[in-house]
């Protein structure tokens, strides 16, 4: 229904049906790629952490350990996604796709009128959110536990995560924004 509301102003019912059929036809590609995308994302986080650890002098924080920590900390985003979907289903009044896609209350989007933002700016502003900070804390906790079996180094490793992963996120955001600008 929300897809019809979003597209109905521009396309006829018949064309909307064609669009939906096309999406359904290729939906399996998205599902098949999900594990790969997740592996790349966690690998990228682990690489940022490993580089940061090397520069900070934590020589025995290997890529294997940082990968495990990133995998464990990913639970933060899983929980957040579940809450967001539940919020969209039971709390938000979702009439169009844009109502849900622009719903990002703890991100930089909340400071702007989402409808007035150019399309290329939406994803970068949504990515700048409080959840990333919580993720850095989760990375710090996971690294501390996996490395020393205690949370004694939680503070230092959280700062490491913030610096290294944070830089990686900024690089990711400007790269995506750049490409979105080119193709939109």
């Amino acid at each position: 229904m929300s897809l019809n509301s979003s597209l109905g102003e521009q396309l006829t019912a018949e064309r909307i049906r064609d669009v939906l059929n096309l999406r359904a036809h290729y939906a399996w590609i998205g599902y098949a790629l999900t594990p790969l995308v997740l592996a790349v994302k966690i690998g990228y986080t682990a690489l940022c952490l490993a580089i940061g650890a090397l520069l900070a002098g934590y020589d025995d924080l290997t890529f294997k350990r940082t990968f495990k920590a990133a995998l464990v900390a990913e639970g933060v985003f899983v929980a957040a996604s579940a809450i967001r979907v539940g919020w969209g289903l039971w709390v938000l009044d979702v009439q169009t796709i844009e109502d849900f896609s622009t719903f990002a209350p703890i991100s930089a989007v909340a400071f702007f009128n989402a409808e007035a933002l150019p399309r290329w700016a939406l994803y970068p502003l949504q990515t700048l959110n409080a959840l990333e900070f919580i993720y850095c804390l989760a990375l710090g906790a996971a690294l501390s536990w996996l490395w020393k079996r205690s949370f004694k180094h939680f503070d230092d490793l959280s700062v490491l995560a913030l610096g290294s992963y944070g830089t990686g996120v900024i690089l990711w955001i400007v790269t995506v924004a750049f490409f979105l600008l080119q193709v939109s």
Binding site: L11, L54, L171, V174
Partner: protein, 203 residues
């Protein structure tokens, strides 16, 4: 470990350099995009070429009746669907002048016009953007793109991706029955939809 540390330091410097470079490019491209949006709020003066070789200037358009400009590609199936929709909608053809514009060859456009029954007599004229001025002026990177101008030469709506003739007519009808929609703040509402809804990269 010193080697690994050196490599890591070099990587960090490269990353920071990349962030700075991309940030500057984003600022430049966004500024150019904004300038384009401002420029097309009023129908810009451009000269296009009809299929018989006659020059057609936009200076004389949208002065007494609304104008719909559709930038398209002949092999783009979304453009084909939009052409079919426009050709079949008599009411829209009575409401506005419709121009379908492309940078492709005259032969390809003549074949397209014949296939979809597009001719000036029916209210739809196919024009050539021979030197790419139209695409550059309007900042077009994909097709189809539809620009709806009112009889005051002000942009009413811009659709990226396929737009049905009924949707276009609805915009024209809505705006003509609401004459207060002419304030300086009013202008284009660029309706942007995900690309899977119907557009192609310019070939």
């Amino acid at each position: 470990m010193p080697f690994k540390r050196t490599v890591s330091a070099v990587v960090v410097v490269l990353v920071l350099g990349a962030i700075a470079f991309l940030s500057i490019r984003i600022y430049q491209d966004a500024s150019a995009r904004h300038a384009t949006t401002e420029r097309i709020q009023t129908l810009p003066p451009i000269t296009l070429t009809a299929l018989d070789g006659t020059p057609v200037s936009t200076n004389h358009l949208a002065t007494t009746e609304p104008v719909v400009l559709v930038y398209f590609g002949t092999t783009c199936r979304f453009c084909q669907a939009e052409a079919h929709s426009l050709a079949a909608h008599d009411a829209l053809q009575d409401t506005a002048r419709i121009f379908m514009i492309s940078a492709e060859s005259r032969a390809a456009l003549e074949q397209f016009a014949a296939e979809y029954e597009l001719d000036p007599a029916s209210g739809i004229q196919v024009l050539r953007d021979r030197d790419g001025t139209f695409a550059e002026t309007f900042g077009i990177s994909r097709v189809p793109n539809t620009f709806i101008y009112g009889a005051n030469r002000r942009l009413l709506r811009h659709f990226q991706g396929e737009a049905s003739a009924e949707a276009i007519r609805h915009i024209l009808t809505e705006r003509s029955s609401s004459p207060t929609h002419t304030s300086s703040q009013d202008g284009c509402v660029a309706q942007q939809f995900p690309s899977s809804n119907g557009d192609c990269s310019i070939q």
